[in-house]
Symmetry: C2
Subunit: 430 residues, 2 copies
């Protein structure tokens, strides 16, 4: 890397890319003094370089040819912001092979091709930095991987999808239906037109894969763990669990060590109202980590958005420019790699909502099935119903295994008195 001038190439002139250009325009003085070198955003490549993105950039810096970056020997850092698998993967691999450091926010790619990308980066003795891939601008991966490196982690619990958190917060504050809040979120730009990725938990899962590597030294592919979204949650669930049980509903990515195994899972989770994660609202993200030395630590901030994400991208560039020779290892040593616990064996407390006919003996039948599977109840609430129609029953179980709960629920669902599939939300461990 040149001692006095560092050239950076940016692939992808979208929202985040515009934010990156904005920061270089606004804070270049700050950045250059911080690293003690001249820093030049030399080239910005995108298929579309004619649309006005509202940021200042001289036209000679724009190109539609990615080789203007990948093959330019003067460029030592490549920022990849096109997202997705291809051509992002090929561009990143080519950049690494050409001896360039890479900065990216591409969680999907990292979660899928982690081993390939880090191997190529290591082989070519260049860095791949991705602070922006989880938690947007929140300093999260560096602290997890470096500042807290003296810790063996016991658990990581992340609210890491702003869209899902916004929807759950609004449902909770205003008592609205999921679909109505989703529509509003789409109108406000907080949710994509196709929101599947966010509301079904896939985005959370990809980010959790990255957190799991850094916290536990273990790569786990997405198909290997349980991922469940928030679409089935009703205002009724939120109201009851909030008012009667004092919980807040959050979409949580959880990785925790249980004995010699790792539990990795993504699902809606009931969190005690006085837990710090319960205060992470709207589009904000929070990641709560428990280390054996440091105890609980939480990092909080905006997990997405143009400027927060761009802040992390530029932060990574600054770190690379300041420490180009830094040797990075990801997470604890591989010798600590752990087996992933089968979801069926995961133990948890459960909130269950049933819709049953208000007939004598219904509760007796249900409790019989639960008892058969060794599931004991902490509380049962049956709402009064004067019209003898179907009524909601709310139950909270003591700890039970996932397998037992699932078997019991599937039998309960088949009872003639049960009028809709049981709703089930896992409760955060104390």
């Amino acid at each position: 890397m040149n001692k006095t001038l560092v050239n950076i190439g940016l692939i992808g002139f979208g929202t985040i890319g515009s934010g990156v250009i904005e920061i270089f325009n606004q804070n270049i003085d700050l950045i250059e003094k911080k690293v003690g070198k001249e820093v030049n955003l030399k080239k910005v490549v995108d298929l579309d370089i004619s649309t006005d993105r509202g940021v200042e950039i001289s036209s000679e810096k724009l190109s539609t040819d990615v080789n203007d970056i990948l093959e330019d020997p003067e460029i030592s850092i490549v920022i990849e912001l096109i997202g997705g698998y291809e051509p992002a993967r090929s561009f990143i691999l080519k950049a690494l092979e050409n001896g360039k450091h890479v900065v990216t926010a591409n969680k999907a790619l990292l979660a899928k091709h982690w081993e390939e990308i880090t191997a190529v980066s290591e082989k070519n003795n260049v860095r791949i930095s991705f602070e922006a891939s989880v938690g947007g601008g929140i300093p999260l991966l560096q602290p997890l991987n470096e500042s807290l490196a003296a810790n063996n982690f016991e658990g990581i619990y992340g609210i890491i999808n702003g869209t899902a958190n916004y929807i759950l917060t609004k449902m909770s504050e205003e008592g609205l239906e999921f679909d109505d809040v989703l529509k509003e979120a789409q109108e406000k730009g907080y949710a994509e037109q196709d929101p599947t990725f966010d509301i079904e938990g896939h985005d959370t899962a990809q980010k959790l894969i990255i957190l799991t590597i850094l916290g536990f030294g273990t790569y786990v592919a997405q198909e290997k763990f349980h991922v469940e979204g928030i679409t089935k949650i009703t205002p009724q669930d939120i109201e009851f669990t909030s008012k009667k049980l004092k919980y807040v509903t959050k979409l949580l990515g959880i990785t925790r060590k249980v004995g010699d195994e790792l539990e990795v899972r993504v699902h809606p989770t009931l969190i005690p109202q006085d837990h710090l994660l319960a205060s992470v609202n709207d589009v904000f993200n929070g990641v709560y980590m428990i280390g054996d030395s440091v105890g609980p630590v939480m990092m909080y901030g905006q997990g997405a958005g143009m400027m927060p994400t761009a802040s992390a991208i530029v932060g990574d560039c600054i770190d690379i420019i300041s420490n180009p020779e830094k040797e990075i290892t990801y997470g604890p040593p591989q010798s600590q790699e752990k087996a992933i616990k089968n979801m069926a064996e995961v133990v948890s407390k459960y909130y269950i909502r049933l819709k049953a006919l208000d007939q004598p003996g219904v509760l007796h039948k249900i409790s019989g099935i639960l008892s058969k599977y060794h599931i004991s109840l902490e509380s049962v609430n049956q709402e009064k119903n004067e019209e003898n129609q179907s009524i909601p029953i709310f139950m909270v179980t003591h700890k039970a295994s996932e397998k037992n709960i699932m078997d019991a629920i599937s039998q309960i669902d088949q009872l003639p008195e049960i009028k809709a599939p049981c709703m089930l939300i896992r409760i955060l461990e104390d």
Copy 2:
């Protein structure tokens, strides 16, 4: 630094020192694999090496002679954990001059001798690391100084004294008097026998000095800013502000940019109950920072204690071993150094509690004085009193300058109807 073996010396075998030894004993495998080198805690020096601290260490590693560390050419990293100004300052300077990196938790020393210590470290091309000095084990200084380096900071708001936060939390939860909670905290070991340093805000001030350097590139000596403790706060204040005004009382260190100046201050502060800082309870610390790109970010965790602090100490060692050549600059470039705003010119909203005789015209006199100083009121609550004795009056002002408030209060305090000095708590800016 030797490629395969790194020797570390530890000065100060107290609580934190024992925690450091404990981590090296427990997690040495993790640490060595992380840095790719053999790591050896070669020597531990203390005046008392005979007391059993409950951690395993071979007696030949113990010494009472600090030169066994400072003058040992094989030791490349010195951990200083004796605290205070001297001899800690001399030991640190000698270690730096002898080409050793230094890791310390000594906020008092850094806050006072910042310029001297960093100058000597820079001159000798070695590092001084101090993550543990603020927020114990919370990754805080590294993220502020490095991960978020692309930001110009607008404000930093820290709950950074666990003792004060524990006392305020207990007063709030249990409606107890300050003195009673302090006594309980002392019994539990959460407060020192002489608690002045914590409850009068000095500890918060020292930590704020360090945060201000890293966030704003500006060193400000403690005597240059307003520091106020929590000893005058009553259960009455906490109850009224909590129930009627929906605030939580916290001892806050605040540095924020206002125009071209910096406001630096430490005082009890009323924080809206739905602000994330309001959820930082008991002995926990939280630092809320607002960057121009990243927006609000908060770091949370245990701000003190043996293992959390030791975690940060060992984290600093790992960082030094991994990146011995890393060039560190502290905070934004010096060209950005800012003048400190005079406290008299600081503008804030205020909560005021008065104790006045319940006589006609009292409120009229008070409001006359406030009006003379251009202070308008957002709310006034006067409690009913049947016995015609002195009554409490609670007021919240709109924004007013500190000078005007202080002048007004001093006049109000002199009214014959006022039976005790006014209590004043500043309210966090929206």
